[in-house]
Symmetry: C2
Subunit: 342 residues, 2 copies
């Protein structure tokens, strides 16, 4: 009800509206006296700045949009949290949208965020959004890709070196004595998936000992898909099974774990080792604590937001790719087996 405007504040403080605005936005261009008088007036009247008017006139927005396409994956919550932390430090609010795999939904959100005239966009894309992002850039809305390396250098991106991660994971499995490794994951349309697999291949081929690497494809990176992949592996005769599984992410790894250990049919890590990717918080909490390639998820979010703000501040900046290195986190699911063959 009490809708106090900058004009009321000005009147109450005995200054002009311009001065009040200056106190709010560049206090050093204004005398001490005015500052204090305006500030007490603000206090007394309980004035709250009207962001809509500000945005309208100054064309500058205090919101950033974040579109996540796999809202199910806890990894992204950490990314969002990192971005959020940084945003709140800058007094910026985050418009959040998760879209699953619904392309319409994605479009809706981008429209919505465009109407809101967000300062910029963080996006963890599932499919191909380049076209749309370019249109947005024409309108002055920058985008930063999250968790997805932008090869073409059209947009900035913040991601993790998935090839290195795949390599490190398989290196680790080999170092702990495993020789028959299966990569479990999909879909192969996703860059993350192919990169991690490529890294795994490099490690398998570069090992000092002969290492077999097979691929068990899944349709998505979900727990459910992990479970069915596990069932498929269990259906094979024992001697045909791999002795280690590298899952494309922790959700798949947890699914695998569930189907292998669940029925007490296979011992992890004794018979089969499992390593995942992301190191989500549930990885440590699994019944057999899961080894994983940790991504600095919060840092990714934070960095993405910073890059975005910088670019929004200076549109001439050329896109830049930030790549973090993943980190091997060893837990019980890949305990070395001293008595193992090889």
């Amino acid at each position: 009800m009490a809708n106090v405007s900058i004009r009321d504040v000005a009147r109450h403080a005995g200054v002009s509206v311009g001065t009040v605005s200056n106190v709010l936005n560049r206090p050093d261009a204004v005398s001490e006296d005015s500052v204090t008088r305006v500030q007490t007036a603000i206090e007394e009247l309980g004035y709250v700045r009207n962001e809509a008017a500000r945005k309208l006139r100054a064309g500058v927005s205090a919101t950033v949009g974040f579109v996540v396409l796999d809202g199910q994956n806890p990894f992204f919550y950490d990314v969002v949290r990192g971005a959020e932390d940084e945003a709140s430090r800058h007094g910026i609010a985050i418009l959040y949208g998760s879209t699953g795999e619904d392309v319409n939904r994605e479009r809706t959100y981008l429209d919505l965020f465009e109407e809101q005239q967000v300062r910029g966009l963080l996006i963890a894309p599932y499919g191909d959004v380049n076209r749309r992002l370019e249109r947005l850039r024409e309108r002055g809305i920058r985008a930063v890709l999250v968790d997805r390396f932008s090869g073409e250098n059209k947009f900035s991106s913040v991601s993790v070196d998935n090839v290195a991660g795949g390599r490190m994971a398989v290196d680790h499995l080999v170092a702990t004595g495993r020789r028959r490794i299966a990569f479990v994951g999909g879909p192969f349309a996703m860059r993350q998936v192919t990169d991690r697999l490529a890294g795994a291949r490099v490690a398998a081929e570069g090992a000092d000992v002969p290492v077999e690497l097979e691929v068990v494809a899944t349709e998505a990176m979900s727990v459910a898909e992990g479970v069915t992949a596990g069932e498929r592996i269990l259906r094979r005769p024992r001697e045909d099974r791999p002795d280690a599984l590298f899952a494309v992410n922790d959700l798949v790894a947890l699914g695998l774990l569930q189907s292998l250990v669940g029925g007490r049919r296979v011992m992890v890590p004794e018979e089969v080792a499992i390593i995942g990717f992301d190191d989500i918080s549930f990885a440590a909490a699994a019944a057999v604590p899961l080894s994983s390639m940790r991504q600095p998820s919060a840092t990714i979010g934070m960095t993405a937001l910073r890059v975005l703000l910088e670019e929004a501040g200076d549109p001439t900046l050329i896109p830049r790719q930030t790549v973090f290195q993943p980190e091997l986190v060893v837990r019980r699911s890949t305990d070395p087996q001293p008595g193992r063959k090889g």
Copy 2:
């Protein structure tokens, strides 16, 4: 760059700005002819409505704030997703903020959302925010409490019947033959916790057979706290241990599971049954799939948003409390043990 305004559209379509605005907002008050002409003009120019100007003039906002205080709990992601679904159906964007237990952070977000003049606020509070929410309401911003029953009827709320949930959980444990039950959870400042415990008490006392109910307190509802609680239980001699654990939520339950089963020290459910609360997606994926009291999390979010929009539309509406019933989901962690004592 191409900043097309309603005026440009009007010119291009050969009508007045008022007509364009009408086409956008109440198309039935305008002739067919105008509608189509305006619409093609919009298409051709790539016009996007400026939400800031709209908000400024009409005082009506297309954003809703959602403040979650326990951003770690996957349960809330589902709630958010439900709210989001409903929001996108109304063309409304969600400003998202999670605050952990940082009270400052919470204040920052409420300030931010107030500046943004959100249409309303969904809030899953940890501590006491009534004061602040009342101030917001004075300014015309309604709030709906999520996952927290508002006893005083000052605000609307959407939550689950935690007492009933506690009762059903213990009923189930008793029905499957358990007699020595421990409630594991905390902090007891949280209403959810005390309600679930109260329900557990009712069930224990109302059972046909004698049932012991003890309380193992935790400092938070996290996996880590579940683990330490599990360690504490394990330290007791075997004959002093409970034969069933009712965890205040799934995070704690997963922690318990991890510490009990992890070292293969205790068989679940043979020696100890475990039931959680929330039925987060990882509950089913645990190595021993976890029984849980399911909350209709997405429905909670959706309903909360609906209630909010209704109230924002008609400020005279009196607050109303929506309470859902939880649902027992039985999985292996509470498999009945026919040969059990009692």
